[in-house]
């Protein structure tokens, strides 16, 4: 029996069949029982029918990423088995619907041609039929235990037992049944399962009751009928103050806490969840005061979203938008307007795989160089990246401070890996966020000039509607009052004033907000954004084997902290760039700004997130001198 837990569970099914809520129940129960959770959701750009799955890693130690192997898979359709049977590790298990055993690959219309070809090749190589049973036989050969169960019979038995014939047809409870079978199999507490279902359906007591019945039945079925599974999750000491949180909630809660009161957006995956969450919580409690609120406006396109955000900010309101690559591309012209007019705004950019529509629901860190260079002409801006969800909460507060203090647009880089991860982390502490509005004025004296030349290059900022605070803005070059000028001398002064902001930013943002060093060794990784999680887990695994790898996480990407990074990495001999894009965008930026070459790249652009195992394997090859200069990671369905 394995007791120290690092257990990965996979649930799959057609989009719209409750995979996500199943995973939600499973994660909540495990978190409730004290475990750390790292879950990720993968789905097609589709509403109903295509294959989606959720992988939940459950551990009794701190984790920051997923692994490659799956210990237990539960499926209530054939496609999940076809797509994932080879991911189940020896000694692992598959709970599957026995009624589907004879289903042929050709009967599953959502299997796309390139995948089906690879699947057939695999089945042929083991001389197995092109059926669910064939795939399962290969898994069995790999040492995987099979747990067949007829989901339909469970519903029928439940219907008879409760004298409620309606239950027979409730296939949408397959997810709860699948989760409960899984939890029964690992001997997880049934109380916690019942409580979690009750909580999730607290608004619909009838639905809660039926689901709880089904859960009990399935749970008992598993404990009575399934044998020989060597994994037990019986619960550990719970860490108080633990959140179970989904990625986009980090920036959303950060915005609420730091006083962002205006957000305009246009729907786009994977960014819109954040705006929807903000709108769902639009009325805000304020300490010792009347309630506040966030105006969350759905615009007609991203151009309007950005225009509205700038308009909001000009009134002195902390204002933001949230988008992804295609939407951000549309905002580029306005970014320059915000730049030349020194408007503090925050653009939360949840990247996905490009180019163009790319893989619209899949992961990528594709837009770093675009963000750094977005907009025509030279103007100051900040590009800032968070490494994980917990960071993203506090970073959001910092981004708004940077915007206000330096009067520049701030692009806060997030991505799909963040957005659709569900993790446990330490409860956010809003009191760790400070609010610094820079030179935003509370009152204005006579002869106000919005773009007045000052010693530090930042002018006091009035707001639209402020007494005596009249100013002008224009996208043209302007004089100190904000009126158009084409005077060459004034042009140079204004340009110098604005661009001096870049040095000011580097001098004033504390080092530990610019770059985080997890130690520098002979082999040192440079990376950014969500690659942090898999890297942290991978270098920990290597450390346990006595292999030390350094890691420098870059958060401030523009302006680039060249001197500080050079200082940090001076003792590193081999620099390894890890990121989720084709060309190693950070590597290019790094070389450009530090003069140092990247020795190895570990890149992934399948659209799927990195697992720590993949990163571990690639790093080990590098240390052993067996790696290619460019290691490309491929794992994940």
């Amino acid at each position: 029996m394995s007791v120290n837990a690092d257990f990965t569970w996979l649930i799959g099914g057609p989009q719209g069949s409750g995979v996500e809520s199943g995973a939600n129940i499973f994660s909540k129960v495990c978190a409730e029982m004290g475990y750390q959770i790292f879950g990720k959701r993968e789905f097609y750009s589709n509403i109903k029918g295509e294959h989606s799955y959720f992988i939940v890693r459950v551990a009794d130690k701190e984790i920051h990423s997923n692994v490659t192997d799956v210990n237990l898979m539960v499926s209530f359709d054939a496609e999940t088995i076809f797509r994932h049977f080879d991911e189940i590790v020896s000694d692992g298990g598959i709970i599957y619907d026995a009624d589907l055993a004879e289903t042929k690959t050709d009967a599953v219309h959502t299997l796309d041609a390139p995948f089906k070809e690879r699947l057939h090749e695999r089945l042929r190589s083991e001389d197995r039929p092109f059926t669910v049973a064939g795939a399962l036989e290969i898994a069995r050969g790999n040492g995987v235990k099979l747990f067949p169960v007829s989901f339909k019979s469970i519903l029928e038995a439940l219907a008879t037992e409760t004298e409620n014939p309606r239950l027979k047809g409730l296939v949408r409870m397959f997810n709860v049944i699948g989760v409960s079978l899984s939890l029964g199999l690992v001997r997880m507490s049934t109380d916690s399962l019942q409580k979690t279902i009750g909580k999730i359906f607290s608004n619909k007591p009838e639905v809660a009751k039926i689901n709880q019945l089904a859960a009990t039945y399935a749970y008992n079925f598993a404990t009575a009928k399934f044998e020989g599974f060597n994994h037990v999750l019986s619960g550990i000491q719970k860490t108080p103050g633990t959140l179970l949180i989904q990625g986009f909630q980090g920036t959303a809660l950060g915005k609420m806490a730091c006083g962002c009161r205006f957000q305009a957006y246009y729907p786009i995956t994977p960014a819109s969840d954040e705006s929807v969450f903000l709108e769902s919580n639009e009325i805000i409690e304020v300490i010792d005061n009347r309630p506040g609120s966030t105006a969350v406006i759905q615009a007609e396109d991203e151009i309007c979203a950005m225009g509205m955000t700038i308009g909001g900010s000009l009134t002195g309101t902390r204002s933001a938008t949230c988008t992804s690559g295609p939407g951000f591309a549309l905002m580029a012209e306005m970014l320059g307007w915000a730049g030349i007019n020194e408007v503090p705004i925050v653009i939360t950019n949840y990247q996905r795989s490009g180019p163009s529509t790319g893989l619209p629901t899949r992961h990528g860190q594709d837009d770093l160089l675009f963000a750094v260079h977005a907009g025509h002409g030279d103007f100051p801006k900040i590009v800032y990246a968070s490494g994980d969800i917990e960071e993203s909460f506090y970073d959001t507060g910092n981004c708004f401070n940077y915007a206000d203090i330096f009067q520049v647009p701030v692009i806060h880089m997030m991505d799909k890996f963040h957005a659709s991860s569900v993790i446990t982390c330490k409860r956010f502490d809003p009191q760790k966020i400070t609010i610094n509005r820079g030179k935003l004025l509370e009152k204005v004296d006579d002869n106000y000039r919005r773009f007045e030349f000052t010693d530090d290059g930042v002018s006091p900022r009035s707001r639209l509607g402020m007494d005596n605070g009249i100013f002008w803005n224009t996208g043209d070059e302007s004089d100190e009052t904000g009126h158009i000028t084409e005077d060459p001398i004034l042009r140079v002064k204004m340009m110098n004033k604005r661009m001096s902001r870049l040095d000011l930013i580097l001098r004033n943002i504390p080092d530990n907000e610019q770059v985080i060093s997890f130690g520098v060794e002979e082999h040192t990784i440079v990376s950014w954004g969500s690659a942090k999680g898999p890297i942290l887990d991978a270098i920990k695994m290597l450390k346990e084997e006595g292999i030390k790898i350094g890691f420098v996480q870059l958060k401030l990407l523009h302006p680039f902290p060249s001197d500080y990074v050079n200082f940090l990495i001076k003792d590193a001999k081999t620099i390894i760039d890890i990121e989720a894009n084709y060309s190693g965008q950070l590597g290019k930026l790094f070389k450009q700004n530090t003069g140092r070459d990247i020795d190895y790249y570990i890149l992934k652009y399948t659209g799927r997130v990195m697992t720590c195992i993949e990163v571990y394997d690639a790093l080990k090859k590098i240390v052993q001198n067996k790696a290619d200069r460019r290691e490309v990671l491929m794992h994940g369905a």
């Binding site: 309630p291 308009g311 000009l314």
Partner: protein, 320 residues
């Protein structure tokens, strides 16, 4: 101290061509603001790009000269964040009905309480006279290499169809009438639209001041008559007087039919007015009861540098 007309003028040099129709519009806006006595620092003029874009620099209120086609986006954002402000947006017909047409339609659906004025001259002036969205199909103004191959958009019709709740047309050489229209538009509760016919003396040699004055039209009695006439002189009632579908449809249809008049008779005045449609601020207030008393721009977000927002209940719900 009461504000005078001069208080609404800046000393910025005005570089429009001599005889430009834009002068009449900017004068009418300044006269309207002075007559209403609206505080300069409670008013923001937003403008787009083109000759009309410079308007915000000539008016002594807050002035935000935005981007080509995007003026309504900035203006709506600011008005929603600070609903106490009087907001006017201006732009050309190319700006608002060409590159900005999508925002025009969407703004109609939102009905934010502000005023949008289009300087409608049929040409792109600052880029030397290309055809704009309101130039008729087959017309050839003097800078065009060949006749216009696009049909024209009907600004009044588009506004009515998009949901603008006050739709009117003015003429830049009838400044007093235009001033009155602007006052009505600003006082209207909801999104008001003013299409202002504005001859471009440099590039539009067809729709000239003389053409609007009808110097080419001579009736049987050898008397000239102006093309422009006023709807109010014909007892045209543009107002939706009660909230019924029949009444609304009748007034919409009548506005649309009137908007099609062109050529020898061109109506100006109010085409449509409907205050039964909720303005956007009311729609927000329905969700956020204290929105108008405590809008985004007025909220307290910090105390001694610490957040004053309390998110503890949400965090509690996420805690395991």
């Amino acid at each position: 101290m009461a504000l005078k007309l001069a208080d609404y003028k800046t000393d910025v040099h005005n570089d429009w061509c001599p005889g430009c129709g834009d002068f009449g519009i900017v004068n009418a806006i300044q006269m309207a603001l002075a007559e209403m006595g609206i505080r300069r620092d409670k008013t923001t003029m937003f403008s787009g790009i083109g000759c009309s874009g410079k308007t915000s620099h000539y008016i002594n209120t807050f002035g935000v000269h935005t981007l080509h086609g995007r003026v309504l986006t900035f203006a709506q954002g600011a008005k929603i964040a600070n609903p106490e402000m009087t907001v006017l947006a201006v732009g050309g017909d190319g700006d608002g009905l060409g590159i900005g047409a999508g925002h025009f339609v969407a703004a109609g659906r939102r009905n934010v309480d502000m005023t949008y004025i289009i300087f409608d001259n049929g040409v792109y002036g600052l880029t030397k006279g290309q055809a704009s969205p309101t130039l008729k199909l087959g017309e050839k103004t003097k800078s065009l290499p060949s006749a216009n191959t696009n049909a024209s958009v009907n600004p009044i019709g588009l506004a009515v169809a998009s949901g603008f709740t006050f739709v009117a047309r003015g003429y830049s050489y009838d400044v007093r009438h235009l001033k009155d229209l602007i006052i009505k538009a600003v006082n209207h509760k909801g999104l008001s639209f003013l299409d202002v016919l504005q001859p471009c003396p440099t590039y539009n040699d067809l729709n000239t001041r003389d053409w609007y004055a009808g110097t080419d039209l001579v009736d049987e009695a050898q008397k000239r008559h102006s093309r422009i006439y006023k709807l109010e002189d014909q007892k045209f009632d543009p107002t939706v007087n009660y909230a019924s579908e029949v009444e609304v449809n009748e007034k919409l249809a009548q506005a649309l039919i009137k908007s099609l008049e062109w050529g020898e008779k061109i109506p100006i005045g109010v085409f449509y007015k409907n205050e039964w449609i909720s303005p956007y601020d009311q729609r927000i207030k329905d969700k956020i009861p204290n929105y108008l008393e405590n809008p985004p721009a007025k909220q307290t977000i910090s105390k001694d540098g610490q957040p004053s927002t309390d998110i503890s209940k949400i965090l509690d719900s996420l805690e395991v």
